[in-house]
């Protein structure tokens, strides 16, 4: 595969899906950053709370996979009428994890919002990416270029499996870095040592966790390959609405239930979905983005099977793109 062609194809996908892949995530991250910076300013000057409210302690241990809940909000005695800035500074100064917790809180807010957006974007993208060009006849233009359908389909898969996670990684990292520097400026001017803040962020994993999330996201998407592959297949197969093709396995589930109930025959569709569900359940730490997700050798087989099934559907989609005459 020619790398220049692949890069151009990725650019084409980004041009076509600029709003979904670039503009919307960027706006969300900017809003989160603006909110975080505003909040930092508010808290360091006027807030009744403390930075400790954002406590988000990171424990990278397989034994402790639960997110740390914030500690109870410190009740500030209003009668003393002390400047609130003092309380915040005190909290950060007294708790080495507080600054890191604040950065991670902002980054996770950004991350969760990006996940919500991208789950919609990637769902619709995978269902329409091999359908829209046939529907509006753009395919005649794309087919006039020396680009194979294999390249075309694999680039679209790359958008989903790697480009979207990379966009999330970049935005998460940028949010982390900007929040970190904003904190340094606000808190540094308040007398807290820079090395203390830097140590809090580095030891707490602020700069590492976006990469851990990226890794977990890639793993999750690979486990979802049967679903993604089938969505691509539905997109390449459908003549009118890919969604109906995509939802067609539900008919098989219904048929399985009816056969079971009426004739006592198990055709195995529900069992198959149950097996897949268990495989997903066994790796759920990656799906819910626990930083403590660790890849075990027991996950290799399910992962390989999921990738294999997904690849089979993708192969069918490529075959249909090459061999169906309808343009």
């Amino acid at each position: 595969m020619n790398s220049k062609v692949v890069v151009t194809q990725i650019k084409r996908e980004l041009w076509e899906n600029k709003v979904s892949f670039v503009n919307t995530p960027l706006i969300i991250s900017l809003l989160v950053l603006a909110l975080a910076l505003g909040m930092t300013l508010y808290m360091t000057k006027f807030s009744h709370g403390t930075i400790a409210d954002f406590h988000y302690s990171f424990v990278n241990s397989a034994d402790n996979t639960q997110l740390q809940t914030p500690p109870p909000v410190e009740v500030v005695d209003q009668s003393k009428n002390e400047p609130k800035k003092f309380n915040v500074i005190t909290s950060v100064a007294s708790d080495p994890t507080a600054f890191n917790g604040f950065i991670l809180g902002v980054m996770y807010t950004n991350c969760v919002l990006l996940f919500l957006i991208f789950s919609i974007v990637l769902g619709t993208y995978s269902l329409r990416c091999l359908f829209d060009d046939r529907k509006n006849r753009d395919i005649l233009f794309w087919r006039s270029m020396p680009v194979s359908e294999t390249t075309n389909v694999l680039v679209k898969l790359t958008m989903l499996l790697f480009v979207a996670p990379i966009i999330i990684l970049i935005l998460n990292f940028i949010v982390t870095v900007i929040t970190f520097f904003a904190g340094l400026i606000f808190l540094g001017f308040s007398g807290i040592g820079l090395s203390y803040l830097l140590s809090s962020a580095v030891k707490g994993g602020s700069f590492y966790i976006p990469f851990q999330i990226f890794y977990e996201l890639i793993f999750s998407l690979l486990m979802l390959m049967p679903v993604i592959g089938f969505a691509f297949f539905a997109s390449a197969f459908a003549r009118k609405t890919p969604f109906f093709t995509f939802a067609s396995p539900l008919v098989l589930v219904l048929a399985d239930k009816i056969f079971n109930a009426v004739f006592g025959i198990n055709i195995g569709v529900i069992d198959m979905f149950a097996v897949y569900g268990r495989a997903i359940n066994n790796t759920k730490a990656a799906f819910i983005l626990q930083q403590s997700f660790v890849f075990h050798s027991s996950m290799i087989l399910p992962l390989v099977v999921c990738i294999g099934i997904g690849a089979l559907f993708i192969g069918c989609a490529i075959w249909m793109r090459n061999n169906r005459y309808e343009i």
Binding site: K4, V5, V7, T8, Q9, K11, R12, W15, E16, D133, N136, R137, D138, L140, F141, R143, S144, M145, P146, V147, S148, N323, Y325, I327
Partner: protein, 286 residues
């Protein structure tokens, strides 16, 4: 000379409908070929077979390659406009240029800009904001900037005004065409390309009705203008086609003696349009 397109007995059916029926043709390099036929004649199916967009039965080679199995390799030397105004509506003009430059090694950005400079198309415009004619202009600029060995144009000037149509055909001849390039054009506006063509192919009902070099047409076909007094004598010579004109009749003959026809009326060479009608609607006298 090796044929650029070599088709031997190719056929294509859609259910019971036969789109191509045992078609054979050879197109050598350096020719400008007009593929003319009525709607549903099989033109587009033939073009799609040549471009590898549809599989066909029989032996079909384009630039020595099987277009269906070697489509990507073939398209490095073949460019085409398979239909008008089919550029993606979301793409910007600058993005379209960048895209073709990125995927086609024989695309000249400068040449495309030269073509675009003759239009009112702005680089930052999106295709959806362009008129149908402008989209066609952009598409033609993109395709003509590719230094390919075979250019296939399916109704290239549909939707264009007459000024740009003239400009396009001038550019096609002056800026694009050379002895190494072959151009295959389908159009309904046969009068416009008549002076451009080196070869002519008529197709109807999936069959090739005529495949002839333009300079051979005067030797094979003759048009005769007669009045009522010589009509019967002319009909006795079995014209391929007869039509009524103002104050007389016009007849088209194939392989008839020009000297003999000259004694009956005014003899000329039929235009491509007249020849097309004559071939599509043969008279009962043949």
């Amino acid at each position: 000379m090796e044929a650029i397109i070599d088709a031997q007995g190719i056929s294509k059916s859609y259910g019971k409908k036969i789109a191509l029926d045992n078609v054979s043709l050879k197109i050598p390099a350096g020719r400008i070929v007009g593929l003319i036929g009525p709607n549903g004649a099989g033109k587009t199916t033939l073009l799609k077979g040549i471009l590898g967009l549809a599989s066909v039965e029989g032996r079909l080679q384009v630039l020595g390659l099987n277009p269906f199995t070697d489509r990507v390799k073939l398209l490095e030397n073949v460019s085409f406009i398979a239909d008008t105004a089919i550029l993606p509506h979301w793409i910007k003009v600058s993005e379209a240029l960048d895209y073709v430059a990125g995927v086609h090694s024989k695309f000249s950005y400068e040449k495309a800009m030269e073509f675009l400079a003759k239009t009112n198309i702005a680089l930052d415009s999106k295709v959806k904001t362009l008129s149908k004619g402008m989209v066609t202009q952009l598409h033609l600029a993109l395709i003509m900037a590719i230094d390919s060995k075979l250019l296939v144009l399916d109704e290239p000037t549909l939707g264009l005004d007459i000024i740009y149509r003239k400009q396009f055909y001038e550019a096609l001849l002056n800026d694009y065409y050379d002895s190494q390039k072959t151009i295959l054009i389908t159009t309904h506006q046969v009068e416009e390309i008549e002076g451009l063509l080196t070869d002519l192919i008529f197709i109807n009902d999936g069959k090739i009705l005529l495949e002839v070099a333009m300079d051979e047409i005067p030797n094979i076909f003759t048009e005769l203008q007669v009045d009522l007094s010589t009509k019967e004598a002319a009909l006795a010579l079995k014209p391929m086609h007869v039509r009524t004109t103002l104050g007389g009749f016009s007849m088209v003959f194939e392989n008839a003696s020009v000297d003999e026809l000259g004694t009956l009326g005014k003899v000329t060479t039929p235009s491509v349009a007249d020849l097309f009608v004559a071939k599509m609607q043969p008279s009962k006298y043949v």
